[in-house]
């Protein structure tokens, strides 16, 4: 069964460092998302991406965050200068087409900022 894959599964970084989280969405999907989940809390929307540009973003997705689809398969989330409060599980998700439907989530990348 096709799946969304994410790397790394866990990254530990020092405050102020740049982090790149990588995702390979399902190959025929067109819409891509990043969500985050702080430990024990709800899953929060960060950004959606379609046709090589951001469709929507939340208040969390400030200037420290960026997304990119550099090569037609990877979808990356970059945090320029990490803060302690960026520690969370980051989930990538993809959707086959427009409208509504099943978002397929990856297993997540756990980011720990020290």
């Amino acid at each position: 069964e096709p799946e969304v894959t994410q790397t790394p599964s866990h990254q530990v970084t020092q405050m102020g460092q740049e982090v790149i989280l990588r995702c390979v969405p399902i190959s025929n999907h067109l819409y891509f998302y990043w969500y985050r989940q702080i430990l024990g809390q709800k899953v929060e929307f960060l950004v959606s991406f379609y046709n090589n540009e951001i469709s929507e973003k939340s208040e969390i997705f400030d200037d420290q965050f960026s997304v990119e689809r550099p090569d037609g398969s990877n979808f990356t989330l970059k945090i320029r200068s990490t803060k302690l409060e960026d520690s969370a599980m980051y989930f990538c998700a993809s959707l086959v087409g427009g409208g509504t439907g099943e978002l397929f989530f990856g297993e997540g990348s756990r980011l720990t900022v020290l």
Binding site: K42, F91, F104, F105, E107
Partner: protein, 113 residues
């Protein structure tokens, strides 16, 4: 209901019982609702969805009920199994042309063998 910080509402049931997980949503303009299951250490997994023009939808062992009058959603799981133990989230799509599932806080379901 709502929870603060790390405390999740918890539902404990015996294997074989039926489970009902409730969710109150906030946006009367939401047009599409989804239930997700999240097992420990994994990403959310789609269970079932319902559009706002429906009040009930059934899947395999699961039923979703939507009451738009009181902005309430429920997930019924028949003959609950230990493998159903997980955190369950309802999500609403705010409508307006975008598709941005917005998650609620979740309910922890514990199924005792």
């Amino acid at each position: 209901g709502e929870s603060v910080g790390l405390h999740l509402p918890t539902l404990s049931v015996q294997e074989g019982d039926n489970s009902i997980i409730n969710c109150a949503y906030s946006n009367s303009a939401s047009d599409y609702f989804i239930w997700y299951k999240q097992e420990s250490g994994k990403g959310p997994q789609f269970i079932i969805d319902i559009r706002s023009n429906m009040d009930k939808r059934q899947g395999q062992r699961v039923t979703v009920l939507l009451n738009k009058t009181v902005k309430h959603l429920s997930l019924q799981i028949a003959a609950t199994q230990p493998g159903d133990s997980a955190v369950y989230f309802c999500a609403e799509n705010p409508g307006g042309g975008s598709y941005i599932p917005t998650f609620g806080r979740g309910t922890s379901l514990i199924v005792h063998p």
